[in-house]
């Protein structure tokens, strides 16, 4: 589904990603861990198509297509979703209106008829139920005045409605209390299917107690320095990132 080959990217001339290789198959959950400044969030942003980053080398194939040549909205329509670390506020734009516009663009891209207001409402109600969210979320402006936890829940809600094939959760656990963390993880688990995949970018192994990954990769200084199974996360928790650094050295 996703194939990242020798990806290099920089911002303002500073190299952040220095040759990432990663393959994600349908149904898999990959965790990307690493210390601050290792390039985790940059990787998520580059896959999403953030224009502030310059890709200097390498390629990113998504279902065989080189998405580096696509605009961010095209990537989204192809099925790439990023749950942001800091979701932005859009005052005056209702969540429902925003999501419906996005979903219908994605549907159009896939050759599907747009959903009308009634169909859309039925869909969002169903998804709200799955995620144990209340309807007041729908009429509020996008993230405006939301608490940190509400913003993250809203990201997962959007993911549930847009049904991406690849979801990248960028530090979704940061700033969440334990209940919110459980809710968010629970939502992600419910949305797991055999034909979609998830990349969980996180600093702590805490989230991985709830979203159990198939693979764990450790990112350091713009490179994946170690990969392994679920147990790698636990080992990291115990020994710290320095342990990987020493091993790699």
């Amino acid at each position: 589904m996703l194939e990242i080959k020798n990806l290099h990217a920089s911002i303002n001339g500073k190299n952040i990603l220095k040759g990432i290789n990663l393959t994600v198959k349908p149904g898999e959950v990959h965790a990307i861990m690493g210390p601050n400044g290792s390039g985790k969030s940059t990787l998520a942003q580059v896959i999403a198509g953030r224009e502030t980053y310059e890709v200097t080398e390498g390629e990113v194939l998504f279902n065989g297509k080189n998405i580096l040549e696509m605009d961010p909205e095209e990537r989204a329509r192809e099925g790439v979703f990023v749950a942001f670390q800091y979701p932005v506020e859009i005052p005056g734009v209702s969540n429902t209106y925003f999501l419906k516009a996005g979903l219908n663009e994605i549907r159009k891209h896939r050759g599907l008829e747009p959903l009308d207001a009634v169909e859309f409402l039925a869909l969002v109600r169903e998804r709200l139920k799955v995620l144990h969210l209340t309807e007041n979320l729908l009429n509020r402006s996008v993230n405006e005045g939301f608490s940190g936890g509400e913003k993250k829940r809203n990201e997962i809600f959007q993911m549930a409605v847009l049904e991406p094939t690849l979801s990248i959760l960028d530090e979704t656990d940061s700033g969440l209390d334990i209940d919110a963390l459980r809710d968010v993880a629970d939502g992600v688990n419910k949305l797991r299917k055999k034909d979609n995949a998830t990349i969980v970018v996180t600093h702590y192994q805490r989230l991985l107690n709830y979203i159990v990954p198939d693979y764990v990769h450790v990112l350091q200084d713009g490179k994946i320095v170690k990969s392994g199974g679920r147990e790698l996360a636990l080992e990291l928790e115990e020994k710290g990132y320095d342990w990987v650094k020493e091993q790699a050295a």
């Binding site: 198509g49 224009e51 909205e73 932005v88 859009i90 734009v93 996005g102």
Partner: protein, 481 residues
Amino acid sequence: MTTETQSIETLATQEYKYGFITQIETETAPRGLNEDIIRLISFKKNEPKWLLEWRLKAYRYWLTMEEPKWHNVHYPKINYQDIIYYAAPKHKNKLNSLDDIDPEIRRTYEKLGIPLEEQMRIAGVAVDAVFDSVSVATTFKEKLKNLGIIFCSFSEAVQEYPELVKKYLGSVVPYTDNYFATLNSAVFTDGSFCYVPKGVRCPMELSTYFRINTADTGQFERTLIVAEEGSYVSYLEGCTAPIRDTNQLHAAVVELVAFDNAQIKYSTVQNWYPGDKEGKGGIYNFVTKRGKCAGVSSKISWTQVETGSAITWKYPSCILQGDNSIGEFYSVAVANNRQQADTGTKMVHIGKNTRSTIVSKGISAGFGNNSYRGLVQVHKKAENTRNFSQCDSLLIGDKCGAHTFPYIEVKNTSSTVEHEASTSKIGEDQIFYCKQRGLSTEDAVNMIVNGFCKEVFRELPMEFAVEAQKLLGISLEGSVG
């Protein structure tokens, strides 16, 4: 980032959609202004003597006045002697139905996407269509007449209801008021008149579409709305104009009078030609709009969406004379490319317990310059009055400007006046967020801008709100950087 800027800039270069000129014969006065021209206008319109005298008084006063310079707009000197002050489309017979309208005019409306019959049928809107200076069609008049509501062109009101016109003309905006209003008083050609009798609630939105057509014809519209005790009326005004190379002056006057417990809601969507990307051409819009809450507990609301014109100079105001009266002003003003907008409101609190609300949303893009200018004045005896003002500016790109000039004069200690202001920029983060959810840059900008304007749009009648949103989209296409 650069790609985004470029795509936005491409969008912004879209041509004005409504620029076309209708070929119909017009009867036109010679260029220039003098007492004879005013006499000609008055004669052509078969006006009573008092009205001619009033026009002449205004003209003579105007000669002693100077064009205002306090505003934050710049334009070449206007040659008032180079303007044609009277033009009327020729038509052979009096019109009884829409079918009698010149097909050319009908086509013009259709190009604008506002076929009269559609409006009548779907929206139930009575339309008093002003084409150049003479009203061409007035619809739903019968239905309104049965309720005692008068809704007709200003010229017709002068003929049919001279006593009402005489009583209220200049009662809110005197002919000495300001340079442009005084000029209008001397040379106005037509406009709309509306009178709602005691206790009557007007069952439909009254609407007038203005359209400037004859080359270099200044439009001097005059609108007068009187709402008697306990009545209610909602009035819509919407405009577009064809592309012209020379600047066209527009100096309208709108007067509203609301008596005890009466309510007037006045909504405008203004989309006159703003000039090309370099600012060439485009309408100069110098308008005086004022409402008087003459009676107790009366209410006047102004809602405006100003996307067009090269220059917008406009301060719809409320004189809150009756105790407990309410004034409201909701505004969206867009200045894109080289457009300049200096707009705001005046809330004059005279009566006790009067309240006013001001919500102003200024959007600046390209090289546009947007100024909010507002005055909240509380007179000595205006006890327990309240005002709340909120002025928000949204910047798109880094070459535009937003300015806020709030003036507050309070002479009563029991009054509360609040003012809030904010300036924000459409963030790259916001646009990226929308794009990550599948939206194009254009849709993202539209959505963000419309969200910004929501508080104003929700004050508009439904079908007008939809139109306003579309218009905003067109006005800002390609403007994000």
